[in-house]
């Protein structure tokens, strides 16, 4: 396309996050926020405090991930006897019941996705802070996937909400949600905000001019 790459920032342009309108960086560098002329959203050259905000949310998610996995997400009470389920034991139960395909789906959504998301966001943050030059395009794709796939971890929470709505036969069987469910939901929401706080353009800002 061109011999050298020019970014909007290098051309003194801000691209609006909501409507993509390009506008000039305001001449007066005041602390008051700039507003997009077309859609009235606040505009910034890069997401404000992207790294520290993403780190803070990510660390909170790491901490909450511990109770999310140790505490029961729900307890099935049948004829007075309770059986507590954690995220992992729910998956095991599905495997024992011979429902392998759905067990894989739940395993992927509730365990693989949250762990991978934490690891990937940590890696992306470190790669930006250490000014990595390695495969920026692949790192951007990694970010894109992380942002899209995160919400699917909510499966377990929704499953519990269906179960407590259906199974409420006092003496015979009831289901009680546990504190693990709240921690787990918090992990999912916080990592979603962490992914939103990260600005993939920082990956590219570090790239030394080549070609």
């Amino acid at each position: 396309m061109r011999s050298s790459y020019v970014t909007a920032a290098q051309a003194s342009l801000i691209s609006c996050h909501a409507c993509h309108q390009l506008s000039r960086i305001p001449a007066k560098r005041t602390h008051g926020e700039a507003i997009c002329p077309r859609c009235e959203a606040h505009i910034h050259l890069r997401k404000p405090n992207s790294l520290s905000r993403t780190w803070a949310l990510l660390i909170a998610a790491y901490i909450l991930y511990i109770p999310a996995n140790l505490l029961p997400v729900m307890t099935v009470i049948s004829f007075g006897q309770g059986e507590a389920d954690t995220i992992l034991s729910g998956v095991k139960e599905l495997i024992h019941a011979g429902m392998l395909p759905i067990a894989l789906v739940v395993f992927f959504a509730s365990i693989v996705v949250p762990v991978t998301k934490l690891v990937v966001l940590t890696y992306l943050l470190l790669s930006v802070q250490y000014r990595s030059q390695w495969r920026p395009r692949e790192r951007t794709v990694l970010y894109r996937i992380t942002e899209v796939v995160g919400r699917w971890s909510m499966i377990d929470i929704f499953m519990i909400s269906i179960l407590i709505a259906l199974v409420k036969l006092e003496a015979v069987a009831t289901i009680e949600p546990g504190m693990g469910a709240i921690s787990f939901a918090a992990v999912v929401i916080i990592t979603m905000f962490a992914a939103m706080g990260f600005d993939p353009r920082l990956i590219w800002d570090n790239m030394k001019e080549k070609r």
Partner: protein, 207 residues
């Protein structure tokens, strides 16, 4: 996204790597992607407004059905329990777990409703060449709802719950569950026919 420059070209910055692109205005069905990081820049849709409005109106009807009719019936030892889409939310609140109640309410009912109503509020007047009051913030909110409306995830949660209970009891799906499934499809279709750039451009053209 664009600033008109000479000779009918548009200048667009990539959302993910900030690279500037100079492109020709797209024709219907064409897509532009970033030459450096591969992110989508702009996809122009054919008859975007009409298609999106039709699909969103269909979604609105299905949304009402999904909320009014029974979602599922559970039968065990002769006892029958009927639940609605909102029953899980009520049960969470009854148990004092309002955090989860709010979360499920927001993801399965509130954000989908806001998205459908917001979309119609902006698109229908624009199609008739009128700019509704506060069109820009409303349309920005519609885009935000995208992430937090999780009906597709919810339906997968339903499937897992049904599989877990299948051995224990008899489950009879209600009208709402079919409406809910169809709603996911019509809303996804509405998303794919929506051309946000066309909406922003039209808003800009109208006073």
């Amino acid at each position: 996204m664009e600033m008109s420059i000479a000779a009918g070209r548009l200048v667009i910055a990539c959302h993910e790597c900030d690279l500037l692109h100079r492109i020709h205005p797209l024709r219907d069905g064409e897509r532009a992607t970033c030459s450096r990081c591969g992110a989508g820049l702009w996809a122009k849709k054919r008859d975007s407004f009409e298609h999106t409005i039709l699909l969103t109106v269909t979604s609105l009807i299905l949304f009402v059905l999904a909320n009014v009719f029974p979602f599922m019936t559970f039968e065990l030892h002769g006892r029958v329990q009927t639940s609605h889409l909102s029953t899980g939310v009520v049960e969470f609140f009854d148990r004092g777990m309002w955090e989860l109640g709010l979360l499920v309410l927001a993801a399965s009912i509130l954000f989908p409703a806001l998205k459908i109503l917001g979309m119609l509020y902006v698109l229908v007047p624009l199609e008739m060449n009128r700019r509704p009051w506060k069109a820009a913030p409303v349309f920005r909110m519609v885009a935000q709802c995208q992430t937090w409306a999780m009906m597709d995830v919810y339906l997968l949660g339903v499937i897992v719950a049904v599989i877990k209970l299948a051995d224990l009891a008899t489950l009879v799906p209600g009208v709402a569950i079919y409406s809910f499934g169809a709603l996911i499809l019509t809303l996804a279709a509405a998303d794919s026919t929506l051309d946000p750039h066309a909406v922003w451009e039209k808003m800009e053209d109208l006073p």
